[in-house]
């Protein structure tokens, strides 16, 4: 005697049984694409922020004689006179060797390699230092001195990241399109299977919206269910990747070979929107499909 939610037996409909699995797969793929996008976006942002206030001055290796040629002091003098430079710190051999340890090993001997001398420079990003002029001044003071503001490297990284973000956005779009097609197919099958019942409802005066509502609620339910299943598996995958990357990417506790797979929690929370989005897309698709089909009835 209770009022049923569905006049149509869609819940028992075998033709739509696989829709949640298809949606789950789609949401899983979309989650991976979006998660990758978030990680890359965050990493680029961190690199950009980290490097925007720093320069590195690279001086030629010290002469073999072991005497101080005064190059470091000359470069420091130029740097300290430049407005906007907050600090200029020469990196000793030990720190340089530590930076190269992931590639060259920890046991580098000072006499083995002609390592360039480096000066770590911190600047006020708002000062608008003319890097070309500063580079020229350094080269005039110390022949072969090079000022690296990391911009060239960072620009290449940003271009690569943008390409990755574009690919991820295309993947998400294609996944959404595939999900829409799956819902269209399932809804049309449902309409065909339940044609007799739909016709009865139509003939007793049900508006198209009344009939469509039954399909759209059903699609919403299946879409949400599939969406949460897909997100759950995506979350497990992310945890697995993060654990594997942490293990493979850290050479020593203080030296990280790969960037951490991280993004702010607010950005990860965006992924929680995927299941509702899948449900809403499924619902809207079912509604449009049913309304278009019913329009063919007199």
């Amino acid at each position: 005697m209770f009022r049923p939610h569905f006049d149509l037996p869609l819940r028992n409909d075998g033709s739509q049984r696989f829709l949640p699995l298809i949606v789950a797969l789609m949401v899983y793929l979309a989650s991976l694409a979006m998660g990758g996008l978030l990680v890359v976006h965050d990493a680029v942002g961190r690199w950009d922020r980290g490097l925007s206030g720093t320069f590195t001055v690279e001086l030629p290796p010290a002469p073999d004689t072991g005497k101080d040629d005064g190059a470091v002091e000359s470069a420091l003098t130029v740097l300290r006179k430049t407005p906007g430079v907050e600090s200029a710190e020469p990196l000793g051999f030990e720190r340089t060797a530590k930076l190269l340890a992931p590639w060259l090993g920890a046991s580098i001997d000072a006499g083995d390699l002609p390592l360039p001398r480096l000066i770590d420079v911190k600047v006020d990003p708002r000062a608008g230092i003319d890097t070309a002029a500063l580079g020229a001044a350094l080269a005039a003071a110390v022949p072969k001195a090079v000022l690296d503001d990391h911009r060239r490297w960072l620009d290449r990284v940003i271009r690569a990241a943008l390409a990755l973000e574009t690919v991820a956005a295309i993947v998400v779009g294609l996944v959404a399109l595939a999900a829409i097609l799956a819902v269209v197919f399932a809804t049309r099958t449902g309409l065909a299977v339940h044609h007799a019942t739909v016709e009865v409802l139509h003939l007793i005066g049900a508006r198209d919206r009344y009939i469509a509502r039954q399909f759209e609620r059903h699609a919403l339910r299946l879409g949400l269910r599939g969406g949460f299943i897909g997100l759950l598996f995506a979350a497990l995958t992310f945890l697995g990747i993060a654990a594997a990357a942490a293990e493979a990417g850290v050479v020593r506790a203080d030296i990280r070979f790969l960037p951490a797979l991280s993004a702010p929690p607010a950005q990860w929370a965006l992924l929680l929107l995927l299941p509702p989005a899948a449900g809403i897309i499924a619902m809207a698709t079912a509604r449009i499909t049913v309304l278009r089909s019913l329009r063919r009835m007199p």
Binding site: D7, I204, D208
Partner: protein, 226 residues
């Protein structure tokens, strides 16, 4: 109430099932629609309950020309028409109660009204004990009564029935016909397609006879009324 002017109808590119049908049914009238199998009775009813469109000619129902009525207005018109289908067309996964309640629900009737009216009507047609039964568990006659209850629950202005007494015994057929007459007395226009000559003779109402898609005879009751 219903006006057909030179109506012809065919399914797809097939032969004409109805030809040059012209008829006028006044509001509150009661008509039997008779004729042999294949004469076009069901097709004529389908045009009346707006399930099909004519191939030619003009149809007006409730004073509205069907050809110019916007599609969005059709559901409201259909809700004024009760139909007893020849094959019942009950929804198998719904109970007798829910099947009968459908016309009220699609019209957004309050739940309480639905409960009261449906229970009352199912009791009246002798199915109080089968209110929660699903159609496949009911006999043919019981299914037919559910179908009739569904057709009349919305107090339609026009009631169309295709062989409504085909699966019930004479006593129940007589009772159902009395129900149709009662509704007719309350102002519902009734059209009943039937093979049952006994029924037609017994109730002495005007009837329209179809042969090969054409109206061949329109008879008034022996009593002279109509």
């Amino acid at each position: 109430m219903i006006r057909f002017e030179n109506v012809g109808m065919r399914y797809g590119s097939g032969p004409e099932i109805l030809r040059d049908v012209t008829l006028h049914l006044e509001p509150g009238s009661f008509h039997f629609l008779t004729g042999p199998s294949g004469a076009g009775k069901s097709s004529l009813l389908k045009l009346m309950y707006l399930a099909e469109r004519p191939s030619r000619g003009a149809i007006s129902i409730f004073g509205r020309d069907i050809a110019t009525t916007p599609r969005r207005d059709m559901p409201a018109m259909r809700r004024r028409i009760g139909v007893v289908f020849q094959d019942f067309r009950l929804i198998e996964h719904l109970s007798a109660f829910d099947n009968v309640a459908l016309p009220l629900r699609v019209a957004d009737a309050p739940t309480r009204q639905v409960k009261e009216q449906v229970s009352e009507l199912l009791t009246w047609v002798g199915l109080a004990a089968h209110i929660d039964a699903r159609p496949p568990t009911l006999s043919g006659g019981q299914q037919q009564r559910v179908a009739i209850a569904r057709a009349v629950i919305g107090r339609p202005s026009l009631l169309l029935a295709d062989e409504p007494t085909g699966n019930v015994d004479d006593a129940i057929a007589f009772r159902l016909m009395r129900l149709f007459e009662e509704l007719n007395k309350l102002g519902t226009t009734v059209v009943i397609a039937t093979h049952n000559r006994t029924l037609v003779d017994r109730f002495d109402q005007p009837h329209i006879h179809l042969e090969d898609g054409r109206i061949t005879v329109e008879r008034t009751p022996k009593g002279g009324a109509g």
